[in-house]
């Protein structure tokens, strides 16, 4: 049994599944957020959401692929599990960092959108008619 190939296959299966899971979470919950940011414009929100998710997949699957190679041989089940835990651990950290970065970007977009429609924070001292 070639433990290295099995390790690689498990690594890819786990990493790709995790990436898809996080991407779908972002897609579903990010949509609600974006519709609010774009003041109800659903088609624009869907469009931006889709673009962001594509970028997310590109970066994360790219990383997963680049980080695949182990660099040493694995000949036992123990070796396989240890190698897997290391590789998957780093993938999870990268996914986590990307996830928080996305949330940060979303919150900046939302803050700008909220500011744009913020009404005057003070009330007038008096009211007059304008001669125009």
């Amino acid at each position: 049994m070639d433990f290295l190939i099995v390790t690689y296959c498990l690594y890819l299966a786990i990493s790709v599944s995790l990436t898809v899971w996080v991407a779908r979470t972002l897609f579903r919950n990010g949509r609600i957020f974006l519709v609010d940011v774009f003041h109800g414009n659903e088609s624009l929100a869907d469009s931006v959401n889709h673009l962001l998710v594509v970028g997310f997949y590109l970066v994360n699957l790219g990383y997963v692929s680049l980080a695949l190679k182990l660099g040493y041989d694995v000949t036992t089940a123990r070796g396989s599990i240890e190698a897997l835990s290391q590789k998957v651990g780093v993938v999870l950290l990268v996914l986590g960092a990307m996830h928080f970065f996305n949330l940060y970007v979303f919150s900046r977009i939302r803050r700008r959108s909220v500011l744009e429609i913020a009404p005057p924070p003070v009330s007038p001292d008096a009211c007059i008619a304008r001669a125009r």
Partner: protein
């Protein structure tokens, strides 16, 4: 749109006007010299003497804001300073802002001449 009635005799006020005009805005600002014929024509209901004492801002709906509130409204109109305007208008910050702005307003002519003598004149309009 907001109309800003400012003291055109005061160098400090003219500099502030230049600065405000240069800033990117959410809401356009129109500047009219307080106490001028234009001001009287546009706002017949406003006492010219009071508009010369304190910065006065009038909204499109006819709301009149004076002193610190007028300054908050100017900042609210600016893209880079709207958030600062929201923070300044909290119950904690507003009294401090009000005192500071009232002090600057009372001493603006003195401040202007000090700035001039220190060579801090900018371009005036």
């Amino acid at each position: 749109m907001l109309t800003v009635l400012y003291d055109a005799r005061c160098q400090l006020c003219r500099k502030a006007r230049s600065w405000l005009e240069d800033q990117p805005k959410y809401v356009p600002l129109e500047f009219v010299a307080a106490g001028s014929d234009d001001a009287r024509r546009l706002f017949p209901g406003l006492d010219p003497a009071s508009t010369l004492e304190d910065l006065t801002v009038i909204s499109a709906e006819g709301g009149v804001y004076r002193g610190a509130k007028a300054w908050v409204m100017c900042l609210w109109a600016l893209r880079k300073y709207r958030e600062a305007a929201l923070r300044l208008s909290t119950p904690e910050a507003m009294p401090v802002a009000r005192r500071l702005i009232a002090w600057v307003s009372r001493n603006r002519l003195w401040l202007s001449s000090t700035m001039e003598s220190l060579g801090l004149e900018g371009r005036s309009r």
